[in-house]
């Protein structure tokens, strides 16, 4: 069994409390007196929590039973720096530990991957840390068009143009290797059908998901693809920004789902959202929220067993004003490692508690 993981990084720290809303908890109204999502704008999932109405496009997936929501995901001794915290997530490290190898690369340490077309991971945004490491070949296609164009140029010239300069010859050889991957991609992508339904192009995520869909339809043998949506760092006047981002995220993921179902690929893909942290439980004085800790993650895909996982963090037992996490993100990663790729890596957890959101 092998599935392709599609990572969706929500950059800036997504406000979990206004994403998966604990609408039934009176503490929520107290903490979020100004920016709380009102009861009638919550799409109820069970007697305690519901989605922000802007996430309505995800309800097809929820009803079909292929949307899992893992609640309260975080890690001990949370760090509230954007960079440090995303690094902790991306390298699956403990808060006190600095690692340089990404968690997906760690998962594949010592594993034998097929030669494929010279690329194992495609990163469509700029942060390639999750797949960074010697075990995987990652191509960052921040600007696919430019990447392929450059690849073309060098491939044509390199053979004749090192001028007897060994340093340049080496550089060109490495470029060649990158370009071989790019060429493989290009050939596959050229023949890939356009997605059945176009993605909203308003923000970059749409373009990135378009690329991801083509990569998947072209059967490029990768283990992961990564896209990102930025702008979640809502310190002030949060509501309009956050609602717009949620709406955009949901509509894009809904299009992705329909496209992959149409291409008969939905069962082979697992989509997971993540963010460096959630936000402070209590709103701040500027109608926004400051950096916090745990938040929910969405996991979607044809092989996903829908429903709520983990426990919603208590709003009356805050730690330093923040939600206490109930699920360590490394357990989510360990689940994916096993159920996407058949790898038993446990990310240094003493007792990994894998969740059960993926069909074996």
């Amino acid at each position: 069994m092998s599935r392709i993981l599609l990572l969706v990084e929500l950059k800036g720290g997504n406000d979990g409390l206004n994403t998966l809303v604990p609408y039934a908890d009176p503490r929520y109204r107290e903490l979020r007196a100004g920016i709380g999502v009102s009861r009638e704008r919550v799409v109820q999932l069970d007697e305690k929590v519901g989605l922000h109405e802007k996430l309505l496009p995800l309800m097809d997936s929820w009803r079909a039973g292929d949307l899992a929501i893992v609640q309260g995901v975080g890690y001990p001794y949370p760090n509230r720096s954007h960079f440090r915290s995303i690094e902790i997530w991306d390298t699956a490290s403990a808060a006190s530990q600095t690692l340089s190898e990404g968690w997906i690369a760690q998962t594949f340490r010592g594993a034998r991957l097929g030669k494929g077309i010279g690329v194992d991971c495609i990163v469509a945004d700029t942060n390639a840390l999750p797949s960074t490491g010697p075990s995987l070949r990652t191509i960052v296609m921040q600007d696919a068009e430019n990447f392929l164009r450059q690849a073309n140029g060098v491939a044509a010239e390199s053979a004749m143009n090192d001028g007897g300069n060994p340093a340049l010859r080496h550089l060109l050889a490495v470029r060649q290797e990158i370009n071989a991957a790019a060429a493989g991609l290009r050939d596959r992508l050229r023949d890939a059908p356009a997605p059945a339904e176009a993605y909203p192009q308003e923000l970059l995520l749409g373009r990135q998901l378009d690329l991801a869909t083509r990569v998947l339809s072209a059967s490029v043998p990768v283990v992961a693809i990564k896209v990102a949506l930025g702008g979640f760092d809502t310190h002030a006047n949060q509501t309009p920004t956050h609602e717009r981002l949620l709406g955009f995220l949901a509509s894009n993921l809904a299009v992705l789902r329909r496209n992959l179902i149409a291409a008969n690929l939905w069962k082979d893909v697992v989509v997971m959202t993540y963010s460096e942290f959630g936000r402070r439980a209590k709103q701040n004085a500027s109608g926004g929220t400051d950096h916090g800790t745990s938040a929910p993650q969405f996991v979607m895909g044809g092989g996903v067993k829908g429903g709520l996982y983990g426990a919603y963090p208590s709003l009356s037992d805050l730690q330093d004003g923040d939600l206490r996490h109930t699920v360590d993100f490394r357990n989510v990663f360990a689940t994916l490692a096993r159920d996407c790729w058949g790898q038993s890596y446990d990310f240094g957890l003493r007792q990994p508690q894998r969740l059960d959101f993926l069909a074996q």
Binding site: K11, V154, G163, N165, P166, A167, L168, H235, A236, G288
Partner: protein, 520 residues
């Protein structure tokens, strides 16, 4: 349509177009020995002895005769850093350990069940130390001294990871800087007594009863003779000779314990006597191979990837007979025909320090907080004070893999964008500027805690071509015409092609991202 720029070659100040395309190398001005060296020679000299030279720096040198320029580089080398030293450099290892333990205990204990964010002094001092050196490399008025200091650090490696006492590494760095262009023999003698080295290669615990061979082996293999030029018995003799050289726990200073020294008879490289450490070093310094090894390494650092054996022998002979003075050796190296050979221009791969420090300098980027730069260096495989192992950085071609090449491009892109998008000093407060900007560009989240430029860190949103048009050139590059910009930034013709009709910013962006920018 993109026009490929051919590099102009300046002959005595007059511009002439070269036919560089046919050979793949910029053509060179015919030598006019005592006259102005011209742009290309000046550029080449600076590219190997400085970090990220600016057009103004090249211009100020091009009118000078080559030999005088070399002499100027070597005259009155700075023997101390300009950047003020961190304030903890007097702290001995014992005191640091005490503070470290108490911080660890404090962190574990916490207050009211809450774990405290405690600064661990070893880590914090290490961070400050790396930042200190990166700052010195960026701001120094004598980059060649920094290059030489880094060279000696890569030769006589010691790492924070093992030593865990940043003050010792600082003092070792001060030693390398003091002797950067001084004398190799005295440098070697000082290194053998250097506390960081004594900790790094376990000399401090080496006693007559139980000599430790770690330093002895590396002294022969890496610092002087090279592998295969001595036997195991030689290593044992050397280990015995250095017993008793140690480090005082409280002060962190070198200390000699005569009672722990083995003063018995030893045989080393065919010579016998009751050798101590200094006698061993004297014997090693008399070996031609010691000088050759240093010259070969310097050649790879400054001239080309492939040392010329005859030249190495010649230069090494002079080096040894001249009592291991470094300055005359460097002078001879920089004046050598090989150094000035056009075939050796752009024939070295930039180290991560070259790339990162050089790009910051040439772009004139203000980077008050250096931690982000150090993390870039870490991603690219060259953290100051933490060489990967006792052999130091392998350098050369090993700097470039598919991963590091892409990462280099990413960091360069990041720096280009930093000129117009993200301030290098840690971003703005979002509260002051609500999310409009972030919405529009999906820029990375900014906050007061944010630091610029960790390894693969996003400044996303626009394609490079657009970024190029938005590049704001600092005073180092502003107002310089396109051809000179290219000539300054690239050691040879662009490999990937640069659109000469673009804005100056777009040309700088394209040059930085051209494969040729990886060369020096």
């Amino acid at each position: 349509m993109s026009t490929r720029l051919r590099r102009r070659s300046f002959v005595g100040g007059a511009a002439a177009f070269s036919a560089g395309l046919s050979t793949g190398l910029w053509s060179v001005a015919p030598a006019r020995a005592t006259l102005a060296m011209g742009f290309d020679d000046a550029r080449h000299l600076l590219s190997r002895t400085s970090f990220g030279m600016t057009p103004a720096e090249i211009r100020s040198l091009e009118t000078v005769a080559y030999a005088s320029a070399v002499d100027r580089l070597l005259t009155n080398p700075r023997r101390e850093a300009m950047t003020p030293a961190p304030d903890w450099i007097g702290m001995g290892p014992a005191e640091l350990q005490r503070r470290q333990k108490s911080a660890e205990a404090q962190r574990k204990q916490g207050v009211d069940g809450k774990v405290l964010e405690v600064m661990l002094p070893v880590r914090e001092q290490g961070r400050e130390l790396r930042n200190w050196w990166v700052e010195e490399m960026i701001t120094t008025d004598q980059p060649l001294v920094e290059r030489m200091t880094l060279f000696w650090h890569g030769h006589f490696t010691s790492s924070l990871m093992k030593v865990r006492h940043p003050s010792s590494l600082f003092r070792q760095n001060a030693l390398f800087r003091r002797e950067a262009l001084g004398n190799y023999a005295s440098l070697l003698r000082s290194v053998a007594r250097d506390p960081a080295m004594l900790i790094y290669l376990d000399g401090r615990g080496s006693v007559a009863r139980q000599p430790n061979e770690n330093f002895a082996r590396e002294l022969l293999e890496l610092f002087t003779l090279g592998e295969g030029r001595y036997g195991e018995a030689d290593i044992k003799a050397v280990a015995r000779a250095f017993t008793g050289w140690s480090v005082d726990r409280e002060s962190g200073q070198f200390v000699e314990h005569p009672d722990r020294h083995d003063d018995g008879q030893k045989t080393f490289l065919g010579k016998s006597g009751r050798f101590g450490g200094d006698e061993i070093l004297t014997i090693l310094l008399a070996q031609p191979r010691t000088a050759e090894m240093i010259v070969e390494k310097l050649w790879r650092e400054f001239v080309s990837l492939k040392p010329d054996p005859a030249e190495v022998t010649r230069l090494a002979g002079g080096f040894r007979q001249g009592g291991y003075e470094i300055k005359p050796l460097m002078r001879a190296l920089l004046l050598s025909a090989a150094f000035r050979d056009p075939a050796n221009r752009g024939a070295l791969i930039k180290s991560p320090v070259d790339l990162i420090v050089g790009s910051v300098r040439v772009l004139g980027l203000p980077v008050p907080e250096k931690t982000g730069l150090v993390r870039m260096l870490q991603g690219l495989g060259q953290v100051p004070f933490d060489p990967p192992n006792v052999k130091g950085w392998a350098g050369g071609e090993s700097w470039i893999s598919t991963y590091t090449l892409l990462l280099r491009q990413q960091f360069l892109r990041r720096m280009i964008e930093a000129t117009s998008v993200a301030p290098m000093d840690g971003g703005m407060r979002m509260a002051d500027r609500p999310n409009r900007r972030a919405d529009r560009r999906e820029q990375l989240p900014a906050a007061e805690t944010m630091q610029m430029m960790d390894p693969p860190r996003p400044v996303e949103g626009r394609s490079l071509r657009n970024a190029g048009n938005e590049v704001r050139l600092g005073p180092t590059l502003a107002g310089v015409d396109s051809a000179v910009l290219l000539q300054t930034l690239l050691p040879r013709q662009p490999v990937d092609g640069v659109d000469a009709s673009g804005t100056a910013g777009a040309i700088v962006a394209a040059a930085l991202l051209d494969t040729a920018y990886q060369l020096k």
